[in-house]
């Protein structure tokens, strides 16, 4: 980690040097009568001092993870100090270098006062451009990283779901029901098969986007619940409530699925008389609120609920996509469990 940081800094320094050489060259093109050497020396000195103050300085300050820069006023102060320091110290070093190596040769020494204005303007502009450049590089690499993380979470969710769906017990019991239905009610068997196909397709489809409309999410829940309703018979009743105006709100794919599967596996399946699952979407204070309630065994059986992989995984996905504007609350009680997801309506 530290080594990577050092490499990053070295890379930044080389970029600054290239930038300074560019500025010196531009100056030489505009005023070819002036010698190239001193311009390069001054440009590099000023640039490197500014870089040292700003780029090294910000690593010693508490910086935002997003950009690697301190927050607003501190960042501006750092840049101002960096540019001012670069101008005075850099000019000093540049002068020493020029005199030591005799860079002016036979050319007349320039009048510092006549140069003052252009020197200040170039330093300030170059300093701001340089700082802005590194700021946006930091920001875009942060965004890229975040997008990568969101994608990774979506992949993990899919894999996890695949494991539950292809869990042998679930699969063979479903197939056993299907086999039984073919004999007694071929029409219903066909329906069950359709639900199963849609249910499996939803997870096996590798090219799926990271978000989809809430309607699609509810359709997948219905497929799963229909399968379970056939298996569990009168032990399972369910309600899916999606107001039409929320149908097109985009949500992370299969975000709710683990909650409903938890409700079945840990809530209703262990309960002899079964129960009811209610999934409800609503708009509250401009946010989307989705609740999954079950009337299962609640906290009687699974003390570790609330910290399971499914829940922490949902939390990570929400955080990756919406930061702290999204939230998952989960609690179990005497008479069941209740999960509540809040997320911004994009």
């Amino acid at each position: 980690m530290r080594r990577l940081e050092a490499l990053d800094k070295l890379q930044n320094m080389l970029q600054v040097m290239a930038f300074c050489l560019g500025i010196a060259t531009a100056q030489y093109i505009v005023t070819p009568e002036r010698p190239y050497g001193p311009t390069v020396a001054y440009s590099l000195s000023i640039g490197l001092v500014t870089w040292a103050i700003v780029d090294l300085g910000r690593t010693f300050m508490p910086s935002a993870a997003e950009t690697g820069w301190p927050s607003g006023p501190t960042a501006i102060a750092l840049v101002v100090v960096g540019i001012a320091g670069g101008f005075f110290i850099g000019n000093g070093i540049g002068g020493v270098v020029c005199r030591t190596f005799g860079l002016y040769g036979s050319a007349p020494l320039p009048d510092p006062r006549a140069e003052l204005r252009s020197s200040v303007v170039i330093t300030v502009l170059a300093g701001i451009v340089g700082c802005y450049y590194f700021y946006s590089v930091g920001r875009s690499s942060y965004l890229e990283r975040k997008m990568g993380e969101a994608k990774q979470h979506a992949d993990e969710a899919r894999l996890k779901l695949l494991e539950t769906q292809l869990e042998p017990h679930m699969l063979f019991n479903t197939l056993a029901n299907l086999r039984a239905l073919i004999g007694v009610d071929p029409g219903r068997a066909q329906q069950m098969l359709d639900h199963m196909i849609a249910y499996l397709r939803a997870t096996l489809d590798a090219s799926r986007a990271t978000t989809h409309p809430l309607q699609a999410e509810f359709d997948r829940l219905r497929d799963y619940l229909e399968l379970m309703a056939i298996r569990m018979g009168p032990r399972l009743t369910y309600t899916l409530d999606l107001p039409p105006d929320l149908a097109n709100v985009r949500v992370p794919t299969l975000l709710l699925q683990p909650l409903v599967e938890n409700a079945i596996q840990h809530g209703l399946e262990p309960k002899v008389q079964g129960g009811r699952i209610t999934v409800r979407a609503a708009r509250q204070h401009g946010q989307l609120v989705v609740t999954v309630d079950d009337t299962g065994v609640g906290d009687a059986h699974a003390p570790s609920q609330g910290s399971g992989f499914g829940l922490s995984q949902i939390r990570e996905r929400l955080a990756a996509l919406h930061g702290d504007r999204a939230d998952l609350a989960f609690r179990t009680g005497q008479d069941g469990a209740n999960a509540r997801i809040t997320l911004p309506i994009a």
Partner: protein
Amino acid sequence: MNPTALIAEDEPLLAQALQAELARAWPELRIVASVGDGAAAVQAALQDRPDVLFFDIRMPGQGGLDAAAELADAWPGDAPFPALVFVTAYDQYAVQAFEAQAVDYVLKPVQAGRLQKTVEKLRQALAQRAARGTDLEATLGQLRHLLQGAPAAPQPQLKVIQASVGNSIRLVPIDEVAYFEAADKYVRVVCADGEVLIRTPLKDLLPQLDAQLFWQIHRGTVVRATAVESVHRDEAGKLHLALRGHKERLPVSRLYAHLFKAM
């Protein structure tokens, strides 16, 4: 008299399907009851005393294996114990264990050919039983084996039990524990000077205990052998343990009665 059977299966369609397949494979078999959970299965079996039990392994509340163990405990001594067939969709270890056992099993989806074999075995078993009576001891041995499940990976042995008591944590040396008893979502840890509650389930606790010292004597009870003073048999033939310094008597399941015999 026609043979009778009980089906315990929580998924209604699968119960129907098994009943239909059985009607084809064994027309004279009469299904006396079809129930959806382990507790109901035990109750129905005690009431109807069928010849054959088809128990699903995974059921809400009590699973098929536990139900069979409880039934073995409650079964009256004068009646022959029913032949057991377990039904499972998928249970890798259990299936391996069954292969080696006389207790039969059927995989879901139930297929006619496979069921036919089971039926033949059952017919033979019932005929033998009529001639010689059932060997409950053999069934118990098999159940015990199945209930143990897959051998757990060796784990470091517990030296102390850490239990939260109010805002503090109490440490109980393992040698001071008289017995562990599963109670709802807790496990009671009973020692000479009182008891504490822990949340670690008994089945997670067992692999961490010295098997020489701690004996399972019931589905929910593990006792320290050195804390047992004496074993008594009551009129019904059931065993009870008396512990040193404890008034409580601990019942021993028939499944584990073999542990106690004079040297």
